[in-house]
C-alpha cells in the first residue's frame, strides 16, 4: 500500500506549479496524534502503511500512535490503539501486525524535524523533495525530532478512535462507504451506468497506492467516449478512464487530468478511503454539497473536543 514516509497535513498552495498536496492520507489520525501530544496539528509524523516496523528512540520522548489498529510494543509492554506513551532513550518501538485498516501514524512530541520545502514537511515523491530527502524511509535512517512545545503533554493516555466517534449509524459495518459529490461528467453517463456506479461494491486492487486507488468492478462507460482537455483535479476526484474502472485520486495524484470525472469523494471521508485495505470493498453514496460541509464540521467538532479534553486533562494532572 505504499512506502513509510514523513508527512504533515500537506502542501496546498503550490498547484500552479504542478505540485500536489502530498500529506497524510488519514489526516484525522495525524491530527489526533498531534493533539494528544500538545503539538501543532500540522507537525510532521511518520505514515506507516506496512508492518513489521521498528524504531529506536535516541532520547527520552513522548510519542503517539493513531490510525489503524496495530500490535505495538515498547520496552516489553503493549501499547493500546490511539495511545500516547513515554519512550526512554534506546527503547525500541516495534509494530508487529496491522490486522485491519491500512496505515498508522507515529507522532512525537515537537514533531519530526525535517526542512519545510514549499511550505510543508510532507514528502513529494515524484519531485523527490520534502519529508526525509524526498524519499521513503529506509532502515538505518535517523530522524531528528524538534523540542517539545510549552503545551506538550506526556504520560500514558488514550483517545476515542475516530472511527467510533465518526461512525455512521445507518451504514452497514464491514463495508467502507464513502460519500461523494457528483462531478462535471456525471451526466455523460446514462442511468444504467450511473446505477452501476452507485450499487456496485468496488474492489481495491493491488495497483492502488498514494497516487490513486484503482478499483475493480463492472465497466462504467459514458454514453460516448470522452476526451477532455487537461484540467485541474484534487485528491478525491474519481476518474473513469476508457476501460470503465474508476480511479480515486489520492494525495500524491497529479494536479491535472483529462479523464472524465464521475464524482469526488468528500474531504470528510478521505480518511475512510485511506484506511480501506487492498482487496477490500468500497461503496459510494451520493451526497449534496451542504451535507459534505456538515460532515467536515463533524470532524472538526471531534478534533476540537479532543483538543479541549487534552488541555483539561493536563491541567487536572498538573494540579496533583
Amino acid at each position: 500500500m505504499g512506502p513509510t514516509s514523513v508527512q504533515d497535513l500537506g502542501r496546498f498552495d503550490q498547484y500552479r506549479f504542478g505540485v500536489g498536496t502530498s500529506g497524510a492520507m488519514d489526516d484525522v489520525a495525524l491530527r489526533a496524534g498531534n493533539i494528544l501530544l500538545g503539538n501543532d496539528e500540522n507537525a510532521a509524523g511518520i505514515e506507516i502503511p506496512m508492518t513489521p516496523f521498528k524504531l529506536r528512540f535516541g532520547r527520552d520522548m513522548t510519542f503517539a500512535l493513531t490510525g489503524a489498529e496495530v500490535e505495538a510494543e515498547i520496552g516489553g509492554r503493549a501499547i493500546p490503539p490511539w495511545w500516547r506513551s513515554n519512550a526512554r532513550v534506546d527503547e525500541v518501538l516495534s509494530l508487529k501486525t496491522m490486522p485491519r485498516s491500512a496505515r498508522c501514524y507515529l507522532t512525537v512530541s515537537g514533531g519530526i524535524d525535517v526542512p519545510v520545502v514549499l511550505g510543508s514537511r510532507s514528502t513529494q515523491f515524484r519531485g523527490e523533495f520534502g519529508g526525509f530527502h524526498g524519499r521513503p524511509l529506509q532502515p538505518g535512517d535517523i530522524l531528528r525530532c524538534a523540542s517539545p512545545t510549552a503545551s506538550a503533554s506526556s504520560g500514558e493516555l488514550g483517545v476515542e478512535p475516530a472511527d467510533l466517534v465518526l461512525a455512521r449509524p445507518d451504514v452497514p459495518a464491514g463495508n467502507t462507504t464513502v460519500r461523494v459529490i457528483i462531478a462535471g461528467e456525471y451526466d455523460a453517463f446514462d442511468g444504467a451506468a450511473q446505477d452501476l456506479f452507485w450499487r456496485s461494491g468496488w474492489k481495491i486492487t493491488p495497483q492502488s497506492n498514494r497516487y490513486g486507488y484503482r478499483l475493480q468492478g463492472p465497466a462504467v462507460k459514458p454514453i460516448s467516449p470522452i476526451e477532455k482537455r487537461s484540467h485541474g483535479i484534487v485528491p478525491g476526484v474519481i476518474q473513469i478512464p476508457p476501460n470503465g474502472q474508476p480511479i480515486i485520486q489520492m494525495r500524491d495524484a497529479q494536479t491535472s487530468g483529462g479523464y472524465p470525472k464521475i464524482a469526488t469523494v468528500i474531504k470528510a471521508d478521505m480518511w475512510r478511503v485511506a484506511q480501506a485495505r487492498l482487496g477490500s470493498t468500497l461503496r459510494f453514496e451520493q451526497t449534496a454539497y451542504a451535507d459534505a460541509l456538515a460532515a467536515e464540521d463533524e470532524v472538526s467538532v471531534y478534533l476540537d473536543r479532543l483538543r479541549a479534553d487534552v488541555r483539561l486533562f493536563a491541567e487536572l494532572q498538573g494540579c496533583r
Binding site: Y15, G18, V19, A183, H231, S256, G258, L293
Partner: protein, 220 residues
C-alpha cells in the same frame, strides 16, 4: 469538449471549483483564462486560481457555504475577461526523438498514418506557448501543436514514464519534469531542468513562455 456558448462550472467535492471555457483550444481563449485567473485569485476564500487548458480550477481556502455566488461571479468575470497578453521568454529545447524514452513515436506515426520523420518535423515546427503548469512539479502544457499528430490518451495509464519526456495526449503536447505515471504517449526526451524547489519560483517555465523544440537526434 464544451460545445455550448456558456462556460461549464462544476464542483470538485468541497475543495475546488472547475470553470471550463467554451470555444476552441487556442491562444486567445487561453489568454482570457489567464485574465480570469488573475481576477479570481484575489477573491476572498480562494486559495489558488490554477489555469489549465482553456479552463480554470479554483481551490478554496475555506469552502463557500453557498457556491452559487462564486459561480455567478465567475460567469460575470469571464464575460468581461480580455485576452491577457502575458509577455514570456523564448526557450529552445533540444530534443532526442524516439529511443527508449520516446518509445511511442512509432505508435503515434502509425496512428496518424505518417512516417516517424513526418511526426518529428511536424512536432518540432511550431513555436509553442506554455499554456499552463500542472500534472506534476514543473510539467508544462503547451499550446500550438499541429492536430495532424494527435493521438487519444491511453486506455489504461502507464504506471511509469520517464522524467524529461516529451509526449502527446489527445491534441496536446507537453514535457514532463520527473518520472511517474502517464496516460500520454512519449515521443522523445530532453535533459533540461524544469523544476527545483530551492528556486524562488520553483518552476522554470511560466504560462506565456514560448518553446521551440530543436531536433537534436532521431532514434528510429
Amino acid at each position: 469538449m464544451t460545445t455550448s456558448d456558456r462556460p461549464r462550472i462544476s464542483l470538485l467535492g468541497t475543495t475546488a471549483l472547475l470553470f471550463e471555457a467554451p470555444g476552441t483550444f487556442d491562444l486567445p481563449h487561453q489568454q482570457r483564462i489567464w485574465t480570469l485567473a488573475t481576477t479570481a485569485a484575489k477573491w476572498s476564500g480562494i486559495r489558488e486560481a490554477i489555469p489549465l487548458i482553456t479552463n480554470l480550477m479554483l481551490t478554496f481556502e475555506t469552502p463557500p457555504r453557498d457556491p452559487n455566488f462564486l459561480i455567478s461571479a465567475l460567469n460575470d468575470a469571464w464575460d468581461e475577461a480580455q485576452e491577457l497578453p502575458i509577455g514570456g521568454r523564448e526557450i529552445r529545447l533540444p530534443v532526442t526523438y524516439g529511443g527508449e524514452i520516446g518509445s511511442s513515436l512509432q505508435a503515434v506515426a502509425d496512428h496518424c498514418g505518417m512516417s516517424i520523420d513526418d511526426v518529428v518535423s511536424i512536432h518540432a515546427a511550431p513555436l509553442y506557448t506554455v499554456f499552463a503548469l500542472g500534472s506534476h512539479p514543473g510539467y508544462c502544457y503547451l499550446g500550438g501543436m499541429d492536430p495532424r499528430i494527435s493521438m487519444p490518451r491511453r486506455q489504461t495509464p502507464l504506471q511509469r514514464s520517464a522524467g524529461g519526456s516529451v509526449s502527446i495526449g489527445g491534441s496536446q503536447t507537453g514535457v514532463s519534469a520527473s518520472p511517474g505515471p502517464s496516460g500520454w504517449h512519449a515521443i522523445g526526451h530532453t535533459t533540461w531542468t524544469f523544476f527545483d524547489p530551492s528556486w524562488t519560483t520553483p518552476a522554470a517555465l511560466a504560462p506565456g513562455d514560448i518553446i521551440r523544440f530543436e531536433i537534436e537526434r532521431v532514434i528510429r
